[in-house]
């Protein structure tokens, strides 16, 4: 199967994909973008969160074929080069990263939250990130990171 996707602003072609491959598999194994993570591959953990035409989705639940001709943004596409997006910087500064396996998904979910609501209350943060599992941090530092990112964006 041949696919054409627009990923992180670039046109990408995929040759020889099996029809059952998920968008997550194609990103990770065929396009060299392993930043979207594979913690459950059943849509429960949020670690593979990406934008598909601007909507936050679990890449594991989207067939690659469904993304044909569409626009995908992954954690690798939030910012160019060595720079950090302010949300990424906030996650590092707040100590929200331990093993880091949940981190790319949480950064995408935080990005999605803050563009909808730049000054979320704690309850809104918790609700927005409820689809992203983290096993290391107990979430406290993640909430700190979201607040820090929001404060810095508002400053």
């Amino acid at each position: 199967m041949q696919l054409h996707l627009r990923v992180n602003g670039e046109d990408r072609e995929v040759d020889g994909a099996w029809a059952g491959e998920s968008l997550l598999y194609v990103l990770r194994e065929r396009l060299g973008l392993p930043g979207s993570k594979n913690a459950c591959e059943q849509g429960e953990c949020g670690s593979c969160s990406v934008y598909l035409d601007g909507e936050l989705v679990c890449a594991c639940l989207v067939l690659a074929a469904q993304a044909q001709g569409r626009e995908v943004v992954t954690v690798e596409g939030l910012v160019d080069g060595d720079d950090l997006h302010p949300i990424q910087e906030a996650f590092v500064a707040a100590g929200a990263v331990q093993c880091g396996f949940c981190t790319p998904g949480l950064i995408m979910a935080t990005h999605d939250l803050l563009r909808r609501d730049p000054t979320p209350r704690e309850e809104e943060i918790r609700e927005a990130l409820a689809g992203n599992l983290c096993r290391c941090t107990g979430y406290a530092k993640i909430i700190d990171a979201v607040r820090l990112a929001a404060e810095r964006a508002g400053a």
Binding site: P34, S36, C99, P104, E123, A130, C136, K141
Partner: protein, 771 residues
């Protein structure tokens, strides 16, 4: 966090990012950018994918294996069975009782039997489905007590008992004014790390193999691999790849031998990666436990005796069961002074999933029982539960049931008072925001029928390995000059599993050498063992090894400075890349002293010797040190529906010395989340030896909505024997948080709640309504 510190030891060299600061993790940037290479991200040219054929039955005899149809699938490159295991056909951390690939007896559902390599993961899975195995299905032994009975089927040649630990102290027949008894049960918890078991094996073309892997201990993996691959250890080289959490589940081997066998058989790189469902079958879990306790106390509340019988279900293979049962027994009475102790703890083979290490390691199961008993006793005596605990609290110099004296601070009463004195969260429910109520936005209550409860618990466990195990760590430190500036390279095999041991190595090197540029090289088997990232031991042990290697390098530097400049060796220190004399100020640049040379020092760190428990009495100086934490939980319960919201956890913990305060907080918050999970939601449900919920849809771990704010007080009382006074931090948060939450649920509901996780049915007592 608020902290209480021992007087600061004078530190030599204050430079940015040294010990005591919340230095940033060196892997933080690559992790937030999605560029950090986890073991599941690895890729090699011409790489094949492995898959595993597993037993669908918990107990069966294999009559035949037919791989013919699997081999016919286009794209398949190898299909291997037990006949293809080149060396020892079994492995295991303490007892090599687990087949690499089963040949005759299958002892749990999910046991590996055949492995496949193919050019696409889906091809490998489809080929695996075409392997035909002829089973004689047998009735599984699924109850640990039943496995111990006369006439039970013998599951291993050695019998069904893995180990019993017997502790006897004082008068076995002691009597007391007040007696409370209780039977408790702990369900099977999963570590549920997020990064699935995975790795990449690359054959070297000369009969050896390189494995890039997620693990907690590279060298013990290497030794088991070499034995089963029939290779010398030098032929099996391991490099740690990015690890997506561990929590004990990466102590045992998973894909390691299989992946290397496939790579050596095909001559091509092979990647293996479990799915989430397979992961539930691919690693050991926390031991389910049944615990029967009797506590006797005087009218004044002082404990007179504790009698306990503990049975842990070890499942199909031994894993680390012999050490887990030792902990369950050694810490069975809690951090209290108990003059008369009679404890028997057993760990047993069954046909249930194998159980082994998980954060808290045996201390978790006992703590739930003894803290439940302390609450029962407080109620019986009419004493405040915190006051009863304080009256019995152990302290420095107290004697454990094993006869060991507690060295260093044991601030049990102080920790309890600290959590007791923290302000309670407001009782108001914030204008009826549903998200703050049990049931959340399911809209099951607007506050009616919601009851609040408060509960307390305190716990402790050992730091480092026990019972005579010399779990040393090794570090190599290399000091050189690059672009005119000194640079320190630290090489150590310690597994960074997310906890931050890499950051700690950098911080120690900066402080010891007064040099800011520190690089921690990839962990691999090219340097000596660092021991396991387990038992809350790495900051102490690897921290100690890095400290020793740095001090050896510093000696060399200062010797050079003295040779050139003369003076008093006690007068010189390293500061910001210079040698500084107290009397004369800066006297030399490190860059000048080293020049084109390299200072290269390797050191081991060993903790003090410990000793095995006496088999009849359990008496021994068996442990290196102990760490303590206390928790207070506040819960809201919808008693009609059994729905729970944990409102807040307050905790106090002595960490000895916080080398990285932010990382310490992260360990405490994360550990509490796992303890909360065990209290109210996490259980692998095993029915007739079969796991019923192997997914994140059905095995629930706390989400950000389940986890309340943590109010924390960190004490830094300084261990007298450890490097910098550190203690382990990772496990204590997981130990007493569970019984604190359950105590709060009891306070809110009046239900006995003798089993964790507590289910809604337990709260509304459906079984009583039905009867």
């Amino acid at each position: 966090m608020t902290t209480t510190r021992a007087p600061d030891t004078p530190t030599r060299d204050r430079i940015a990012g040294g010990i005591g600061e919340s230095a940033r993790r060196p892997d933080g940037v690559s992790k937030v950018k999605g560029q950090f290479a986890y073991s599941s991200d690895l890729w090699a040219e011409d790489m094949l994918w492995g898959a595993t054929v597993r037993s669908p039955h918990p107990r069966a005899r294999i009559r035949g294996i037919d791989i013919t149809r699997a081999l016919q699938v286009p794209g398949v490159h190898a299909v291997l069975t037990h006949e293809d295991v080149p060396g020892r056909k079994t492995y295991g951390l303490e007892i090599p009782d687990q087949p690499v690939l089963a040949w005759s007896d299958v002892r749990y559902q999910g046991e590996p039997i055949v492995i496949v390599a193919a050019d696409h993961p889906e091809t490998a899975r489809r080929a695996a489905e075409r392997v035909e195995i002829d089973f004689e299905v047998l009735p599984p032994v699924t109850d640990a007590e039943a496995a111990l009975e006369e006439g039970a089927p013998r599951l291993h040649p050695s019998g069904n008992l893995i180990r019993s630990v017997r502790i006897r102290r004082g008068d076995e027949d002691a009597t007391a004014d007040v007696v409370v008894r209780g039977d408790y049960e702990v369900g099977m918890q999963d570590q549920a790390f997020l990064g699935p078991e995975s790795g990449l094996a690359v054959p070297d073309g000369e009969g050896g193999v390189d494995l890039y892997i997620s693990t907690q201990w590279l060298h013990v993996d290497r030794d088991q691999l070499a034995a089963s691959l029939g290779l010398t250890p030098e032929k099996v080289r391991l490099t740690l790849s990015g690890v997506g959490g561990a929590f004990g589940a990466r102590e045992d081997l998973s894909i390691q031998i299989h992946c290397c066998m496939l790579a050596l058989a095909t001559g091509r790189p092979v990647k293996m990666m479990y799915t989430r469902e397979e992961s539930f079958f691919g690693h050991v879990h926390r031991h389910p436990a049944r615990l029967s306790y009797e506590h006797g106390a005087a009218r004044n509340g002082k404990l007179v005796y504790v009698r306990a019988r503990i049975v842990l279900d070890g499942g199909a293979y031994a894993s680390s069961s012999t050490a887990v049962v030792s902990n369950a027994a050694c810490f069975s009475c809690g951090p209290y002074e108990v003059p008369n102790v009679s404890v028997d703890a057993h760990v047993v083979y069954t046909d249930n999933p194998p159980c082994g290490a998980m954060r808290g390691f045996g201390a978790v199961q006992s703590c739930f029982a003894y803290e439940s008993q302390m609450d029962l006793l407080a109620a019986e005596l009419g004493v405040d539960p915190v006051e009863l605990r304080v009256r019995n609290a152990m302290g420095e110099g107290s004697t454990l049931p094993t006869g060991q004296s507690v060295r260093g601070p044991a601030p049990v009463a102080e920790l309890l008072r600290a959590v007791h004195d923290m302000p309670l969260p407001s009782a108001s429910r914030d204008g009826g925001d549903l998200r703050l109520l049990p049931g959340g936005v399911s809209n099951t209550t607007h506050g009616e029928g919601v009851r609040r409860g408060v509960g307390y618990a305190v716990g402790f466990k050992n730091i480092c390995y026990s019972e005579g195990f010399d779990d040393y760590s090794t570090a190599r430190v290399r000091l050189s000059i690059a672009a005119g500036e000194p640079i320190v390279e630290v090489h150590c095999a310690a597994s960074e599993v997310g906890q931050g041991v890499t950051t700690i190595q950098m911080q120690i090197a900066r402080t010891e050498l007064g040099i800011e540029r520190v690089v921690v090289l990839p962990a691999d088997t090219g340097v000596g063992s660092a021991g396991s990232s387990s038992a809350s031991r790495q900051t102490w042990m690897t921290g100690g090894a890095v400290m020793r290697a740095c001090r050896a390098a510093r000696e060399q530097l200062l010797t050079r400075a003295l040779e050139r400049l003369g003076g008093d060796p006690g007068d010189l220190r390293l500061e910001d890349g210079r040698v500084v004399s107290d009397a004369r100020g800066p006297v030399a640049d490190v860059a000048d002293l080293i020049g084109d040379d390299v200072i290269d020092e390797t050191r081991e760190y060993h903790h003090r010797a410990t000793f095995p428990l006496d088999p009849d009495t359990g008496q021994a100086d068996a442990h290196v040190a102990f760490a303590f934490a206390a928790h207070r939980a506040v819960v809201d319960v919808d008693a009609a529906l059994g729905l729970v919201r944990v409102v807040e956890i307050a905790t106090a913990q002595d960490v000895g010395k916080a080398l990285n305060p932010q990382a310490v907080e992260g360990q405490i918050e994360g550990g509490i989340a796992q303890g909360l999970g065990l209290a109210v939601m996490e259980e692998i449900q095993v029915v007739d030896g079969r796991i019923r919920n192997p997914s994140f849809t059905d095995y629930l771990i706390p989400t950000i909505l389940d986890m309340p704010p943590v109010n924390m007080r960190v004490l830094e009382l300084g261990d007298p024997e450890s490097p910098y006074g550190v203690k382990g931090v990772g496990e204590p948060p997981t130990i007493s948080s569970t019984p604190a939450v359950v105590a709060a649920l009891r306070a809110a509901t009046g239900r006995p709640l003798r089993r964790v996780p507590v289910r809604p049915d337990d709260i509304v007592a459906l079984e009583e309504v039905g009867s």
